[in-house]
């Protein structure tokens, strides 16, 4: 074990994968000489050379298109989008080609797209989004949202080895804020297995990514009120751990789904609907959602704070549900 930040864990996982598997290469804007906008691949070009750490032109279309072709030819590319927001340029290659190739032709497309996502630093509308639900809706893609350094490393290894296109959402707000013990050796964290971040009896909070920590702080606040909160970190949205969610909700009978993405069409709606369909007779309260309002992410710090779910708001929501 050694202590790493969330960012170091991603970097460490990627480096280990590149060391053990010659098919793995990195491509993105400024990932080589500069070491990446967030320095995830700092020193990579020195170690692996410019042919495995490729500085791409300013074209997400070219990056993902190239990755798709390379993957079909047997490589395991890891593309970096400088910001998750920019992936919209690569939508066609991802959704029309990569996601369907295996279904159409039986060819695996083992690409991993790293997506620095999320807000909390006044990045404004182009640098702060959480577009996971857009891709969760596309059959053929996998969606990964690690919340801890340990998961960041293990889930990245699993994504790189997965034969399908994987969208790996790494939350920028956690990059250097989160520090924890991470195993030094290589390991894979399985997809579709939620992690019980905190055990509790009164309410299940189902969330992922940075909101796991927001929920945790809220739960700590509520300890004094005698409200026992269970926090489920989904880790991956596609596939998502329905069983764990239903099990937790059966125990607590109250569910709150929390995400940083905007509410309408957010993945929380899918979870809420599934609970209503499959655990209706376990419910003791309406399912509650807490998410960002349906607007672009505001630039102003004050407005952004009002936009992204905050600890106090989440605590209030949990309390309301507990008192229902």
């Amino acid at each position: 074990m050694s202590e790493m930040t969330y960012l170091q864990a991603i970097s460490d996982g990627l480096r280990q994968e590149m060391r053990r598997d010659k098919r793995v290469f990195v491509i993105g804007e400024d990932v080589g000489v500069y070491g990446g906008a967030f320095k995830v691949t700092l020193g990579f070009q020195e170690e692996f050379g410019p042919w495995r750490v490729i500085d791409a032109p300013l074209s997400e279309t070219a990056i993902v298109g190239g990755c798709t072709g390379a993957a079909i030819m047997g490589m395991r590319p890891v593309a970096e989008m400088q910001f998750a927001d920019f992936i919209s340029c690569a939508w066609d290659h991802l959704v029309t080609v990569a996601a369907k190739q295996r279904w159409r032709a039986g060819t695996p497309v083992p690409i991993t797209v790293r997506l620095p996502s999320g807000g909390g630093f006044s990045g404004g509308p182009f640098h702060s989004q959480n577009p996971e639900s857009s891709f969760a809706h596309i059959p053929g893609l996998k969606v990964i949202c690690p919340a801890t350094p340990e998961d960041a490393k293990g889930l990245l290894a699993t994504a790189i080895q997965d034969p399908n296109p994987c969208l790996y959402f790494e939350h920028k707000h956690l990059y250097r804020r989160l520090k924890a013990d991470v195993p030094e050796e290589r390991y894979e964290t399985p997809f579709g297995k939620a992690r019980i971040h905190r055990e509790g009896d009164d309410i299940s909070v189902i969330t992922w990514g940075a909101m796991v920590h927001t929920a945790d702080e809220a739960a700590q606040q509520l300890e004094g009120d005698g409200i026992s909160v269970e926090i489920l970190d989904l880790r991956t949205l596609i596939p998502w751990d329905k069983q764990a969610v239903l099990q937790s909700v059966s125990k607590t009978s109250k569910a709150l789904v929390l995400h940083e993405d905007t509410q309408t069409g957010g993945f929380g709606g899918e979870i809420a609907a599934t609970i209503a369909e499959e655990a209706f007779e376990e419910l003791d309260a309406p399912i509650k959602r807490i998410a960002a309002p349906d607007t672009p992410v505001p630039f102003s710090p004050a407005l952004e704070k009002a936009f992204i779910p905050q600890v106090d708001g989440v605590a209030k929501g949990i309390k309301e549900l507990a008192e229902y």
Partner: protein, 488 residues
Amino acid sequence: MATTAAIDVVMPQMGVSVSEGTITKWLKQEGDPIAADEALLEISTDKVDTEVPSPGSGVVQQILVQEGETVEVGTKLAVIAPEGAAPAQEEAPAAPPEPATQEAAAEAEAPSSSEGETPAPAEAPAPAPPPEPVAPAAPDAVPDGDGGGDRTFVSPVVARIASEHGVDVGQVSGTGRGGRVTKKDILAFVESGAPQQQPQPEQQAAPAAPPPPQAPPEPAPAPAPAQPEPAPAAAAPAPQPQAAAPQPESEPGESYEPMSAMRRGIAEHMRRSLDTSAHVTSAIEVDMSRVVAIRAKLKKEYQQSYGVNPTYLAFVARATVETLRDYPWINGELRGDQIVTRNYVNLGFAVELTDGKGLIVPVVKHAEGLNLLGMARGISEIAARARDKKLLPDDVQGGTFTITNPGGYGTFHGTPVISQPQAAILGTYAVVKRPWVIQDDRGGDVIAIRPIMNLTLTYDHRLVDGALAGRFLRDLRERLETWDETNY
């Protein structure tokens, strides 16, 4: 609401747990005109007796369920046709031509009711099939008297647990928002071994409180080891469904009448209460001289200024609420393995219905906030509503302590039954002039004539010990004997 299509009148849902009701009286007959919200019939349920208002205006076209019959909630009771429409049964006697107007419809009443003498079975009312009204019944035409005031939401999980354990949710006190019964509440209720309803006779195998429904009863009384016989008799027999009780032969001189829903409710509650609580009764004698004097003084003022009679009961109730403040357990409840206490008193009063055929316990909510005048008014209002059958389900729920007053007939002692899930019930009895030993100015004993009232406290000894009950009664007596006019 102007009625354009025929409207069905159905048996309303009078509270969460009520599943059926008895028609006690039709206030309108077929052919009678009726206005929206005008009382159409009286019904009796486990919880309340009440009038059912008409969901729309028009003419009572058809009455489908006769007086005295008990039917399930949602059963169609009558049809209200738009004004001017022909009453259904008029077709058969081929009588008056086209009762197009209200008067005609009213006149048509006579033949209709004389025909009604022949006791037709409820389900098949008319000999000739009634012609369908113009439009089918409006589906949303549910009478508004359906207990709308108090329909606390039963969540899916609570409904499931209730049905699995045969629990009447109405018996569980809720701690959720607005008194909603939460999953924890009902689980605690089930775990406390609270008695269950008996809707499914096949689940009656275990006597007290079987934990999960499926657990087969342990064949405890199996003395001999390794008996190859199927199972001890105790566990085996499929219980006879008690539903269709055969009508017993009546002995000469006996007669039968069906039990009303209310009587069945009382019977079930009384039995259940004795099975639940460890009933003990303590009594105390109270010198009511001060109260009698103050009441004589206040009576005129209260009646003239407020139209309210300051009854002895109001005095006792007022003093009781004050005393309960110091004895939270007596105003409390055993819920599971928890003791519930409150910072309020919802005071129930046992009220006999005018026909002498039933008893109901309406509740004066938040009695701790009422002074003597408020208490007197609260009691008289709720008692009047009970006698006029105007109580809403909410009026009979949520009591935390009950007073019963059988003293009106001169009785001086009794042992009432606790209203579940409360912890105690106070009995008040006749104020009687008695020779009473008091001390004169010089400390000598003398006999005086004093108005004495006996009070009993019947309490659940599981929660309330005799000493506590004794202190409560002592303090209550003290309050009444030293009644401070300025304080109340």
